[in-house]
Subunit: 403 residues, 2 copies
């Protein structure tokens, strides 16, 4: 028989027929969330695999024959433990780290462990849509937290929690990207982090800290992680090798109290993440972390510089403002409030420039505050394309009557 069987009555009640998303790239693609491809250490990763296979009399192949440990590669967890101690100044054992298929899986597991449908969850008022999508999928009622150029404003957070609690809607936890935030590019100061931890403790509200951009600083001072400032267990710390090395490796991780770890792991489908990529990552980073960061961060800086210079040249007298991030991948563009660059996004994409409209990053998806904003990824395209693409963007915005 061919093509005739019907599943109409067979699908589960919580399944839905969702169209697959097609991946398309504009000529000037500032819509992506990718690191600089020319800095990906493919040679170094392959060499690390070569070295592992050559040096251990079959141990590597033997471990590849295993299904990976639930927590992921022991070697990479040990390395990660050492990296966190050295880079972030907090101490967790290899057995307190869970490697995941990118930080997306880490966030997804923790969200499932902490969220009942209807729970109020807080996040920055503009925040990574991959996480808000997951939060909504597991039933969270997301409320945006007021931010300024320095990220979350602790006093406003405190007041918001008090108000929500008085209304019987006490927030369950706060999701935040404190360093080179996605999409705004802002970094929370140590002082604000301390104040936010105070607020969190007073309200008994955990912080899900997504530190996936911390390695991508090319200016200024890295701020201490929430997790560095607080060892009480209130912070669940998530990070990733996607931006440091390559998204295609699909390796991220989280660390939390043992019970949070176990509850989160209960939602895992299948075994630990791929041992093959873990071997390559561990071998490469153990010998090359600093030199690798030293080589790609100047590239990121020159790309940011090109984008920011082109913004000044092409948007300088239009009432637009933009962030000048000290690291990460994104510039946040804010047009005058009358502009609606969300509405023309698809047309501008077809005409050659990709960006993600601010509406996609609204924590509560209300469409209230994002229509005149856009996230521009400066990391992926070349210096030249950053320059040209922003000039074209200005031209297209004019053409569409947005400036």
């Amino acid at each position: 028989m061919a093509g005739s069987f019907s599943y109409d009555t067979l699908f589960s009640e919580n399944s839905s027929d969702t169209p697959l998303s097609a991946v398309k790239h504009a000529k000037y693609d500032f819509a992506v969330a990718y690191p600089a491809p020319e800095t990906l250490p493919m040679d170094g990763l392959i060499q690390a695999l070569r070295t592992a296979v050559d040096s251990d009399s079959g141990k590597t192949a033997r471990e590849m024959a295993y299904y990976p440990h639930q927590l992921g590669s022991q070697e990479l967890r040990e390395y990660t433990s050492a990296k966190l101690a050295s880079d972030r100044g907090f101490t967790v054992g290899a057995d307190e780290i869970v490697l995941t298929n990118g930080s997306g899986e880490a966030n997804g597991l923790v969200i499932q462990a902490l969220t009942n449908p209807g729970d109020v969850v807080l996040a920055e008022d503009f925040v990574y849509m991959g996480t808000t999508n997951q939060l909504r999928r597991f039933g969270a009622d997301i409320r945006g937290v007021a931010i300024d150029d320095g990220g979350i404003i602790p006093e406003e957070l405190d007041e918001q929690i008090a108000t929500l609690t008085a209304q019987g809607e006490k927030p369950k936890y706060l999701y935040t990207i404190p360093e080179h935030q996605n999409p705004t590019g802002s970094t929370l100061s140590a002082e604000r982090r301390k104040a936010i931890l105070d607020v969190a403790h007073r309200h008994g509200m955990p912080i899900l800290e997504d530190d996936c951009y911390v390695d991508l600083r090319f200016e200024g001072e890295t701020q201490p992680a929430f997790r560095t400032l607080d060892d009480s267990g209130i912070v669940v710390y998530v990070a990733s090798f996607s931006k440091l090395l390559a998204p295609g490796l699909r390796l991220g991780y989280f660390t939390a109290t043992p019970e949070v770890m176990r509850r989160a792991l209960g939602f895992k489908i299948g075994s630990g993440p791929n041992q093959f990529a873990a071997l390559a990552v561990e071998g490469f980073l153990r010998n090359n972390l600093d030199s690798h960061r030293d080589s790609f961060n100047p590239v990121l800086r020159s790309k940011r510089d090109a984008m920011v210079a082109s913004l000044a040249e092409n948007f300088g007298d239009t009432g637009a403002t933009w962030s000048i991030p000290q690291g990460g991948c994104y510039v946040w563009l804010t047009m005058p409030e009358t502009a609606d660059i969300a509405a023309i996004r698809d047309e501008v994409f077809e005409q050659g420039v990709g960006y993600v409209a601010g509406t996609n990053f609204e924590a509560d998806a209300s469409g209230r505050i994002g229509k005149n904003c856009a996230r521009l990824c400066f990391a992926f395209e070349s210096v030249q394309k950053n320059t040209e693409g922003i000039a074209l963007l200005a031209q297209l915005f004019k053409q569409h009557g947005q400036m």
Copy 2:
């Protein structure tokens, strides 16, 4: 603050505090589900990465900088499409294939798309516990289907479905491993498969076909897949590169009707599986599939031969029987019905021989039929250890009064 924050009131209702499983290996480890480590083509996989990076002027690195497509690597899906046409004789496009983090994720996604809590699901009376664990987690009420040395008995399946349907418990779908079944090692004949498809169509019941051992045949004839015999959409086909290459790569896949695909993908956490391993797998298999199978299958045969010979020598006059599989990784040992080798499993493990007791593979987890059975993996240990380990197993069974 240190170690004082309490999550007691914060965990989600459907989370549970499950202890992490510790991975331990006995001296003679027949409890594992691993392929032969000495045949893992680590050199070939690394060389394939090297070739990809050297030959494409940056395309590989550029794709590694992307988040993988929801369906996984385009190149590996195209290769898989060609492999299925050539090895399995059915035609599906690259866009009808979903690459996953091992076949465990594939099964997990499909199970979620098709299972409401309380749904009756059928599976072989001894069947892979990784899948029954997932089925139970998503609420399936699993019923065992009668099997003999040739796998599922179509007439009994038909009768069972009719009885269940009359009781208002119509089975939702059937999960089966038709080729070199885990744990029994049996292969369903083409005739039985056709008869089972007839039964499935009459009852409107899809078949979830797990073909993860098909590449591991060293004797006899590969039987046509359910999917090869039926193009109606009633078969969801799952397979894996874990046993063909290495579990540590974490690459499996499924193909199904477009709507089943989309519904299943709706349960995915995060993006497609790792591009790094996909590059290596595609590059290696495109040039080396046949030579690789030709090199590892004789190794598997010699290991099976050693285990079976040692069983004959040490269990020959005890009333025990065992399967002699034509491929895959497992021999299924059946002791006389009075034996209880499930009860002594932990002690025997400590004394040097690992196996998985039959009770772990009972579809309905009733403890009715598996206590005198064990799955013995012949693929992982050496020929010599297979011989020695089975001799020690007999000695330990005697010592524990089981033979």
